[in-house]
């Protein structure tokens, strides 16, 4: 049984059609990269999975449980809260809470959203996660005292603290200076090696090819091509994929 099954997702904003029927599935432990030019609908797709947007059509099924159906009655806020926790989301702009330290950022949601929080256990997990992100000496720093790369790693730890089934990344390195992207990509690569189930929207082509089990190329709100990274990135079948990849001359074969 696939861990995630997305069927025929459509989404429009006002009269602009962004997603025109997106279907894909993935297995537990896989990392899937979604590539494509700006405006192709990649980010909207991630936002639909995380219930930040409501699709007009389609269904989302996680581990056999249908968590969204556009034709079902609208979900109550508490249902949305419960169901979106299948997913975690790491934003392009990190969106850390500025008034909390790195550790507090990681621990806040687990502390306030569980009925009987075990504060010690939560903080222990938070420390472990930050340690895993290479931030053991930064736990008590506030976001403005951290570099972009460090902030994004805190954001990854914050998302992991809720143990999502599927962790989504929305262009995690696009807001970073080039010299800082490496440290974030390294952390994501580490997560892939530990078989964390991930969907990564990215413009880092060589990273997508090296790290993911599957690559999806989106254009104009549809999936043009999907498959093994070697096939999609090195030997694309579709003309549109070829055109898109031609813009990335730096990909090593």
């Amino acid at each position: 049984m696939p861990i995630l099954e997305v069927k025929d997702i459509h989404k429009s904003f006002d009269s602009e059609v962004i997603l025109k029927g997106i279907s894909f599935s993935m297995d537990a432990g896989e990392s899937v990269s979604i590539i494509g030019s700006s405006g192709s609908g990649k980010t909207t797709l991630l936002r639909c999975l995380n219930f930040l947007e409501t699709p007009d059509e389609g269904t989302i099924t996680v581990q056999g449980e249908q968590i969204f159906d556009a034709h079902a009655p609208a979900l109550k806020p508490e249902e949305i809260r419960e169901r979106r926790l299948h997913f975690g989301l790491v934003f392009q702009q990190f969106n850390l809470f500025p008034q909390y330290t790195a550790l507090e950022n990681v621990c806040l949601a687990p502390k306030i959203t569980s009925e009987k929080p075990d504060i010690k256990q939560i903080e222990e997990t938070g420390r472990k996660l930050l340690d895993q992100m290479g931030l053991s000496d930064r736990m008590n720093n506030y976001p403005h005292q951290l570099s972009g790369g460090q902030q994004q790693r805190v954001a990854i730890a914050r998302a992991l603290a809720l143990k999502p089934d599927i962790l989504c990344f929305d262009e995690p390195t696009s807001a970073l200076d080039p010299e800082l992207t490496g440290e974030v990509l390294k952390v994501i690569r580490g997560l892939a090696e530990q078989k964390t189930t991930m969907i990564i929207v990215t413009h880092e082509m060589s990273f997508a090819r090296d790290v993911s089990d599957k690559v999806i190329f989106m254009d104009g709100g549809v999936i043009v091509e999907q498959g093994a990274p070697d096939d999609v990135i090195n030997n694309p079948k579709e003309e549109r994929t070829r055109q898109f990849l031609a813009g990335y001359s730096g990909i090593r074969k």
Partner: protein, 218 residues
């Protein structure tokens, strides 16, 4: 004479402080409610509140004091406030609370709307409720941003309390002015300035302290 005047002014200043403190106490929460109303999606709620804010910010506070105090008697034939000093004080308090809630609500609205949408979305994807996002994530950031405009507005309130004089509410200027008639001296009126200065000086220090306390994050 100086002691007599000082004591009399202190007594008047007590009235000033009372009006100031009660106005602040009531208009801060009311202003927060109005700010939510002015950001409401439903037009039936949003438009009347925006209209009220426009009227209140668009007319002089002194005029509002007169309308609230004399209005009920003139238009409905009942002086709901009564003629006693406490009745006049209540009328003044109502006028001040309405006026300042509207100004505060605009400061709150500005503060709330300046918080990036990403902060709300981060809270949402972490499974927080709307209430948790507001109180645990957004509120302190809003407070930090509104401290400078609030300190401005609150210091203005200290001095605006003197307007209550137009409906004969006893406050410090009233007491200072009384010496012109009773003793033929004007300096007590000028002397009132010292009280305002000291009080707003203390408030400035307080707000400076709060600003510093909140400077640990950006």
């Amino acid at each position: 004479m100086f002691v007599t005047v000082t004591l009399s002014l202190l007594e008047g200043f007590l009235g000033t402080i009372k009006l100031f403190a009660l106005t602040l106490l009531l208009s801060l929460p009311l202003g927060l409610i109005l700010s939510f109303g002015s950001m409401e999606k439903l037009g039936v709620i949003r438009y009347p509140i925006r209209f009220l804010i426009w009227v209140i910010r668009g007319t002089p506070l002194m005029l509002q004091l007169l309308v609230i105090y004399y209005g009920p008697g003139i238009f409905f034939g009942v002086n709901i406030w009564g003629g006693s000093p406490s009745g006049r004080f209540t009328a003044a308090l109502v006028a001040f609370v309405i006026n300042y809630s509207c100004y505060f609500s605009e400061i709150f609205r500005g503060g709330i709307q300046s918080i990036p949408v990403g902060q709300y979305e981060a809270g949402q994807v972490l499974g927080m409720t709307k209430k948790q996002i507001f109180f645990k994530v957004v509120l302190l950031q809003v407070i930090k941003r509104i401290v400078p405009p609030m300190s401005n507005e609150i210091i203005t309130l200290v001095k605006d309390t003197s307007l209550a004089r137009v409906i004969a509410v006893y406050e410090i200027i009233w007491n200072g002015q009384a010496f012109i008639k009773s003793s033929g001296i004007i300096w007590p009126l000028f002397y009132t300035g010292a009280f305002y200065l000291i009080f707003s000086g203390l408030l400035t220090l307080l707000f400076g302290y709060i600003e510093k306390k909140l400077s640990y994050f950006r």
